[in-house]
Symmetry: C2
Subunit: 320 residues, 2 copies
Amino acid sequence: MKILVISSSLKQEHIDKISKTAKDHGAEVSFTKSEDMVPSDFEEPDIIYGFGMNIAKKNKNLKWLCVPSAGVDYLMKPGVFANDNCKLSNSSGSYGVTIAEHIIAVTLMMMRRLTSYYGSTLEGRWETTHWPQSSLKDSRITVLGTGDIGTSFARRARAFEPAKITGISRSGMSNDPSYDAVRKIDSLDEILPLTDLLVMSLPATLETDNILDRKRIFGMPEGSYVVNVGRGNAIDEDALCDALESGHLAGAALDVFKTEPLPSDSRLWKTKDLLITPHIAGNLTLDYTLDKNVDMFTSDLNNFLEGRSLKYEVDREKGY
Amino acid sequence: MKILVISSSLKQEHIDKISKTAKDHGAEVSFTKSEDMVPSDFEEPDIIYGFGMNIAKKNKNLKWLCVPSAGVDYLMKPGVFANDNCKLSNSSGSYGVTIAEHIIAVTLMMMRRLTSYYGSTLEGRWETTHWPQSSLKDSRITVLGTGDIGTSFARRARAFEPAKITGISRSGMSNDPSYDAVRKIDSLDEILPLTDLLVMSLPATLETDNILDRKRIFGMPEGSYVVNVGRGNAIDEDALCDALESGHLAGAALDVFKTEPLPSDSRLWKTKDLLITPHIAGNLTLDYTLDKNVDMFTSDLNNFLEGRSLKYEVDREKGY
């Protein structure tokens, strides 16, 4: 059994942990920083942990691909796997903490007009204009997508004394006490007009394509905010720009886009009150994220090598 | 009894509330947007709510000045009051929510390098370099000054799963469960070397002058962060710049400075990893802050007009 690990982020402790799990089961493991640097005897591994899509495409021997990302939409197309029965797992569950901090940061930057105040001091200006501001306190928050990311955000947002936090999910259920209510996705049209801050952390599926369309954007209250850290497919970007330019929305913060990198001629670059970050909310620079990521893989490596099913296997029907 | 209210922020509901309290006690009240626009029959009021320092300086009849700020250092100098027995109250207690949100916002902007990522997208660049980042999770937080502002911050920070939150105050006591420990100010030298994030919200007094001096700044761990929302007197600014330039500190966010507005030739404008905001953390643009501010004044107006002592009176000995 050969395991190929492709990562430029792992520390020695992570390498040791994966090596020990492999050795305990008599499996071989090779670590490489990129798919271009795979040793010749690991070109047809049984297991890959990392972004090994070029190998997955050619290697009929591959039995399991574990990717260190939460989103897996890019792996759902035909032709990605040479072996139709290859298992796929993701690392959804390790990004909640870091992305929740991102959401709180960009939300407060917008609500408190720090984009303007910090923007002015960057230019050396002492600008004390009292621009209209908002607060998380007493605001009505809707979390669209109540997975690890949405719920990690809700837990933190709770401490800011919001008026209400409503979660929206496919099942309409969550046991997390951070939500005042959890509703099914078909109540979106009812809830958006009562939303001051919409936080979106949805996977890219056919069901989520343009889920925030023009009608829903303009159905939100005047002066409300949108944050998207899920996938860019979920928003009608042109309608969002119109809503920001007209002042209907007070602000939006996007970390994900329909096309990434965002094309240089995109209208979004020039849209007012739009805070753009380059898909960095969930990067692997925090120790916690990386530790959790490796923990999840090694626990599933134990499962796989001992013949049990994978805990973090992706449901290909649902697409996440 | 004549009450002069000086404010450009009050809404009709605030005016109504103050008017009713005055009327209920047979007092007269006049509202004006600035000290330059006071009606002639209110030039020698008994009570002022607002920044009425020019009147306080000349009017021996003034019995009580209530200022809408938390800091009162600028009122402690000789010659501020024509009447030596004039009572002074402040609005400490109304700024906790808004300033706590500011602290969380600037802390996360620094820790997550949003200053760099947002800075690059402002220039139209899609910059995905993995700069080193930090997290509130597992960080050791020290709150220097455990009043309303520090404690409102601690309550919110708690939800981010820090390793520890230590409060430092004059008394060494606080009943708020958000602190893991509260220590007296003389343990500062012991606690700073164990601090990843130092949040300062102290009044300006002789005791707090340069309390964060060069030795203490360089005694903090490499890669730690400083946030000051109290008063600029508390930090040796030159030493802070040295610590940032040398990379000893990972970042600092200052909303207050020894001299405000920050002089155009100040070294601080050019210092790396220093996030400057122009003393806006506690401005009155949030409904909540203004509501609470007016509530505090009217409750003390009741106290004053009924012969009771003021709840929010400043202790001139302590200076806050």
